[in-house]
């Protein structure tokens, strides 16, 4: 597998540091890497061509020659271009003046239409809408049953009947009127873009219900074919937006870029998990970093924000920075973090983590063991681990079912981490140094900006970036060295 684009850029530009200017040959080399990264991320070949063209134009222009660090500058250009291509503005869903507002879901088989029909319904319902879901997928066995089950889960009625998809769709409008539903979401059967008959069928469904919004449901894992699919559905249905699904996997999601480029309509929503509420507004900039393999720090922060008890976390963070963070704080925060998902996944979202760290398998079991050890300590011991002597250590080990040396290694590592975190607390706010190796001296100097009130918290993105920098420069015992 390729390393991340940033890693590769480090390689290319490492030798150029201090030069401050790029030759055409350097740019070519960088563009080659960009091209590969985009292709590996499943961005369509044609789209890659035009993107790389645009990036080249900007990269060889004035813009770059003024840059202090050309490598970073190119990454910035690429990110900007991607973000722009993915669509700046978020989609604004409004509702029809004369209800019902009809939404049509279309896409290939297995892209997630039925599940996302329910997710969308759930979202509208939470906004106070009276939603009716329509099961017009009469092809896949039990598709309607699946929709009904989901409907029961979110308490939204489902309409379907044993006729044909077009009639079901047409009848659903009447049903919505009779039952006072103001939003109707029509789930259709999956169909191949080249299946003339089925494409005609979905066109008829669309004609029958005259949807205000037609969404194409696209799997984030889709490859080069995404363009063909989008073109075909767009020419048949005139799409209004795209729902990108299965973004909770590790697919880079380049297909989104291809689809956006072809359809020219925004990606409205992203499905980020199997649960009904794992469905959110789409953020182009985040996907841009993801396509480039640069991690997804925004989502990470947002997850953290949702999981943490605000005040408590703030206090804990403060203590962490001041160096008064205790094992008990750790245990409590750990509980919050577990809500965000497996630690290994979270680690994967952090940008710039070197491969050997990222590849360390972190199992939930190991986290549990850690917890067991802390839980076997008294509160006093958690606050002051230095007091743990041989006899206490033995007791804790017994209590947690671990070995005494596990207990001491936890205490040692905890102190290590404390020291490390203390350093970040001192970072100046604006030190948004995304640079890694060799640039760390910058963060170490500089004191806290003086202001009254509680010590100001640095920009979380910066803080995270910096602590991640530290993590990425770690030389971990027992791990292969960086080459």
């Amino acid at each position: 597998m390729f390393d991340t684009l940033t890693d590769r850029f480090d390689g290319i530009f490492g030798k150029l540091r201090g030069k401050g200017k790029l030759s055409e040959k350097d740019v070519d080399e960088a563009l080659r890497e960009i091209r590969l990264a985009l292709l590996e991320a499943d961005v369509n070949f044609e789209v890659v061509k035009s993107l790389v063209g645009r990036i080249r134009e900007r990269a060889v222009g004035d813009e770059l020659s003024k840059a202090l660090n050309p490598g970073q500058q190119i990454v910035k250009i690429v990110l900007e271009e991607l973000t722009e291509s993915l669509g700046g503005e978020a989609m604004q869903v409004t509702f029809a003046a004369k209800p019902p507002t009809v939404v049509l879901m279309a896409g290939l088989q297995g892209s997630g239409k039925t599940t996302n029909t329910a997710k969308l319904a759930n979202l509208f319902k939470s906004q106070g809408r009276n939603v009716l879901m329509v099961g017009a997928d009469l092809a896949r066995p039990a598709a309607v049953e699946q929709l009904r089950t989901l409907g029961r889960q979110i308490d939204v009625p489902v309409f379907s009947e044993a006729s044909d998809p077009v009639s079901v769709a047409r009848a659903s409008l009447e049903e919505a009127k009779n039952t006072g539903r103001d939003v109707v979401i029509v789930d259709t059967a999956g169909r191949l873009a080249i299946d003339v008959e089925l494409m005609e069928e979905v066109r008829q469904i669309s004609e029958a219900v005259d949807p205000m919004y037609t969404f194409l449901v696209v799997d984030a894992m889709t490859g080069q074919d995404a363009v063909t699919v989008a073109e075909s559905f767009h020419s048949t249905l005139a799409l209004d937006g795209v729902i990108l699904t299965k973004l909770d996997g590790d697919a880079r999601g380049g297909a989104a870029l291809s689809v956006k480029e072809v359809v020219g309509r925004p990606i409205a929503f992203a499905s980020t998990g199997e649960k009904i509420d794992e469905f959110e507004t789409f953020y182009p900039d985040r996907l841009a970093s993801r396509i480039l393999g640069m991690g997804d720090i925004e989502t990470l922060i947002e997850k953290a924000e949702a999981a943490f008890e605000e005040e408590e976390a703030e206090e804990a963070a403060q203590r962490l920075i001041e160096g008064t963070f205790t094992l008990d704080d750790f245990l409590q925060q750990m509980q919050q973090i577990k809500k965000m998902g497996p630690i290994g996944n979270l680690l994967g979202m952090m940008p710039g983590i070197p491969k050997e760290v990222r590849d360390v398998e972190i199992e939930d079991k190991q986290v549990d063991r850690l917890e067991a050890i802390i839980r076997s300590m008294t509160l006093e011991e958690r606050a002051n681990p230095q007091m743990i002597d041989a006899s206490r250590r033995g007791r804790i080990a017994k209590g947690s079912g671990m070995k005494p040396q596990d207990v001491s290694s936890l205490v040692t590592q905890f102190n290590e981490m404390q020291k490390m975190m203390k350093k970040f607390g001192m970072s100046p706010q604006k030190a948004k140094s995304k640079s890694r190796k060799g640039k760390k001296s910058k963060k170490r100097r500089g004191g806290r900006t003086t202001s009254k009130g509680p010590a100001p918290m640095a920009d979380p993105t910066v803080l995270m970036n910096e602590s991640i920098d530290e993590l990425s420069s770690l030389r971990l015992p027992g791990l292969p060295d960086n080459d």
Partner: protein, 381 residues
């Protein structure tokens, strides 16, 4: 545990700082909601139940009269259980014409230059073969071409085809038996067509006079068991189901026991779609595979179902699934669309896992053994 320990500690610390910091900053980084709630009236009215009582009985072809092609519900018009291999080319017609569009200039140009190689690369990448596998294949071909002094575009394409055929072919693609019963386990990410594939295999094997049990191991997705049951009824096979949300291992174990007791030879075990990034679900899969062999049965096939539209993530999927469940083969589905399924070349190239079956449509006979020669020819013609 040492390095892991420190990583865990730091990850927690980083997140605490980031999470809390964000809360602090929230005032100024407010996100604008996408959907304007002010435009909606917030009448939280009690939902009026409006479900029609007539749930379409999809198992009965008569009850659903669909005017357009409904291959899943109604029997396919062509009833022959053994589809002619010609279907393959026929169905791949689209893919074929698309590919020849890219390669036309390679042939018309005649001689071989740098552009020729670029175009070959482009053609393979467009088919989702991926950059690494493409580079690998073309490097080998380049060496062969130099050696044989190939100077002609058309001949070069032949070389590429031969190379791909060698890489993809020569594998035993028969589904292995030998257990008592044999268990064929179907795994993959969500929405690739696991249940449908099982339905098609069941139809085929029952037609061959085999006795089967289908195990509804997807206890997660709503109505997945119903879907499998409909297939089982259509094929004439038994099905063993568990409670929704129940333990898939025990459902499959029960199916194996039931097969053993009733003298069925093969258990086709469905599993819930899972993204390979979900550690606990992948662990669950390892357990499913272990437990399937606890009783009388032996798992003789663990097949990864991959959708032909899948891009480069397919390779990661294959890697992760083989680690969790020890894959014996790949089923490439939805190849009747415009997607070319080139990712299986990468999977074969890197992991050596052969493609065994190809899905070419929604009909119950649209599943055929993989044929490397035809697959490659169809891509290039």
């Amino acid at each position: 545990m040492d390095p892991v320990l420190l990583i865990i500690l730091i990850v927690v610390a980083v997140l605490v700082v980031g999470g809390a910091g964000f809360a602090f900053l929230r005032g100024r980084t407010d996100h604008t909601p996408t959907i304007d709630p002010s435009a909606t009236d917030r009448a939280d009215s009690v939902l009026t139940k409006s479900k029609p009582d007539t749930i379409p009985d999809l198992t009965d072809p008569e009850s659903v009269s669909v005017d357009v092609d409904e291959p899943l519900v109604e029997a396919e018009p062509e009833p022959e259980p053994e589809p002619a291999p010609a279907t393959f080319r026929e169905r791949l017609g689209k893919a074929r014409s698309a590919m020849s569009g890219y390669l036309g200039s390679v042939i018309s140009r005649g001689d071989v230059n740098a552009e020729t190689w670029d175009e070959l690369e482009e053609a393979l990448i467009r088919a989702d073969v991926g950059v690494s596998a493409t580079t690998d294949i073309l490097e080998t071909v380049r060496a062969t071409a130099d050696e044989q002094g190939v100077k002609d575009g058309a001949a070069l394409i032949e070389l590429v085809k031969d190379e791909m055929k060698v890489r993809l072919g020569g594998q035993d693609i028969d589904l292995a038996e030998g257990g008592d019963p044999s268990v064929w386990l179907f795994v993959g990410v969500n929405g690739v067509g696991k249940t449908t594939t099982i339905g098609k295999i069941a139809t085929r094997e029952v037609a061959n006079g085999r006795k089967l049990v289908l195990a509804a191991g997807d206890t997660f997705r709503a109505a997945a068991a119903e879907q499998l049951t409909m297939w089982a009824e259509r094929a004439g096979a038994d099905v063993v189901r568990g409670a929704e949300g129940g333990d898939p291992s025990s459902v499959i174990f029960d199916a194996v026991e039931s097969a053993a007791a009733n003298g069925a030879e093969i258990v086709l075990a469905d599993t819930a779609g899972r993204l390979h990034t979900k550690t606990n679900l992948m662990n669950e899969l390892s357990k499913v595979r272990r437990v399937a062999e606890k009783g009388a049965g032996t798992v003789t096939e663990t097949l990864l179902v991959i959708d032909a539209t899948t891009g480069q993530n397919g390779l990661i999927q294959a890697r992760e699934f083989t680690e969790a469940a020890d894959l014996t083969g790949v089923v490439l589905t939805k190849l009747d669309g415009s997607a070319k399924g080139g990712i299986v070349v990468a999977v074969q190239n890197e992991l050596g896992i052969p493609v065994k079956l190809v899905g070419l449509g929604e009909g119950k006979h649209d599943l055929i053994p993989f044929n490397a020669d035809e697959f490659v020819d169809a891509l290039f013609e």
